[in-house]
Point group: C2
Chain length 365, copies 2
Amino acid sequence: MNFKILKEDGKARFGLLEFEKGAVQTPAFMPVGTQGTVKALSNSDVLSVGAEIILCNTFHLYLRPGHELIKRAGGLHGFMNWQKPILTDSGGYQVFSLSPLRKIKEEGVYFKSHLDGSAHFIGPKESMAIQDALNSDIVMAFDECPPYPSTYEYTLQSLELTTRWANICKEVLPSQKTLFGIIQGGFYKELRIESARQIKDIGFDGYAVGGVSVGEPKELMHDMINQTACELPHDKPRYLMGVGFPEDILEAVGAGFDMFDCVIPTRTARHGTLFTSQGRISIKKQEFKEDFSPIDLDCSCYTCKNYTKAYLNHLYKTGEILSTRLNSIHNLHFYFDFFNKMAIAITNGTFLEFKNKYLSTVKPL
Amino acid sequence: MNFKILKEDGKARFGLLEFEKGAVQTPAFMPVGTQGTVKALSNSDVLSVGAEIILCNTFHLYLRPGHELIKRAGGLHGFMNWQKPILTDSGGYQVFSLSPLRKIKEEGVYFKSHLDGSAHFIGPKESMAIQDALNSDIVMAFDECPPYPSTYEYTLQSLELTTRWANICKEVLPSQKTLFGIIQGGFYKELRIESARQIKDIGFDGYAVGGVSVGEPKELMHDMINQTACELPHDKPRYLMGVGFPEDILEAVGAGFDMFDCVIPTRTARHGTLFTSQGRISIKKQEFKEDFSPIDLDCSCYTCKNYTKAYLNHLYKTGEILSTRLNSIHNLHFYFDFFNKMAIAITNGTFLEFKNKYLSTVKPL
């Protein structure tokens, strides 16, 4: 992987990530393909909305169908027939959030599957082996993500464990693979700085900030975004994991982050929440029952070009499967359009105006 | 609507239905768009598999979102943005099969909605008014569909009621609309002949046979198919409602039927059953877990061109939404391919050979 910054506007950066499997413009949004599929969408749909890279979940794919099977299918690209770059997460976050009876030890995490109760173990070595089998284009180091809130003492111990694991990840992953380190440290500024120092000392191809959007207040999230970005190397891609709504992404791009993943556009779509240039709407509302206009007159997505709000309201209320797909196409298209607009604003040196205008015109749901 | 028979092979017919909104080759298969959407598919998907006409359900659309709303949306074509022909059923079948507390009277059926328990009434006049509001290209007469088994006495009374309703339908529907009469008579040969005589006496643009595939044994269904087709006018389209599996359709095309609708390809797809040139397979089976070949090497559908059985097995087992769509695309593509092959066989005068070859090579599930 090669990373170029093409333009800067304040701390915001417009750049390019280059992989063998294709280039990715930054700021980049990665749709989440949890189980090897971006929910409700085919690969053609995901390409049509503008995706250049997707994220898949190591934990889910390890449990089903198993990384060895995926390896035999030609890696994740072969298995799911997605030919552009893929980033896989480390599995750490899901081990902590989904598994009953997990036990964190120095060597990794013992846990039971949420699917069938079977016993498993994943540590840094196992995470690297799984992601190597998946053959992802960006491998994430195995980390511990402390819950919110956590004590200073716990958060410190946790970030130090994450650092020891990060060392092992770098040691065991074949050196030609692209590996990102993850900064933890919860919502303690000095611990974030300490974690960033330790992870930078090891040296990675890119740097991610984890443990954000875990239930904390927005102000705390935005403070942490601004405090952490500047601790990361300038010449490497900076990835803010699991964030978020457009207003959070604006804050993070303004602070100097380059990469994002989030289930928000697809998950909210399945629940009938749609992003528009005027803010978010809930398609299930009575006011749309007889609204024969598209979701957004300014939108050029397949859904807006072909269907009305009245029809989408009907599909949602009758529980039709097509509802999830049409809504997901629209929301992802909105996100990619939003990311393109940020890129243009950075190129033009007008990112701050763009950010302020966006925040002032968009109504909350 | 104009109907031309272009070629006959025994009793089998190859022909063309011509509408303002496009031509439909016969034998024709109509995918079922129950609630104004062919389940799990967009209009582009439905077109891509080869559909030239779809069926929608009057009963469901009357309850949600309501035919008056659909009329204001520009009819069903405008509401769902489907620009090719649409046939709507009469609502009769669903009133009987889905509604609790229904009461059949001379003037029509009083029933309670299965959705919210609200009280409704649909008779022949109401069915015509609803289908006129939907602006469908083929309107079906309102009929009573007796359950299987029913007594001779009940079946006779029922078919006579269906005839009286058919008279009213013809009277009240604007004369420029295309209206099909429905033959009932259960599984009593003489009652089918009697019903056909009465309905033909009224005179319709096409003739449908209802009350089939309601739980009777296959042999009984096939007998009835063969006994009834020859009672219908030669120069009008003959439509066998709600049938069925390819082996049933072969029997019916061989008997002289021209039009078919059935939920089988889409419903079985959602449950993981896939049609192949070798017979039906259940994609959820362990044997496909690591099968990196497409469903059918001979198939040119989007699913077969892009995905393996192993991936489809994974999507099904993890409950991913994409599973329903990819499986539905494949099964509908299989049906349209099968209908095209029947058309070619009729044109070549080899329908019987085609039928026998199909029945001998296809393994049951």
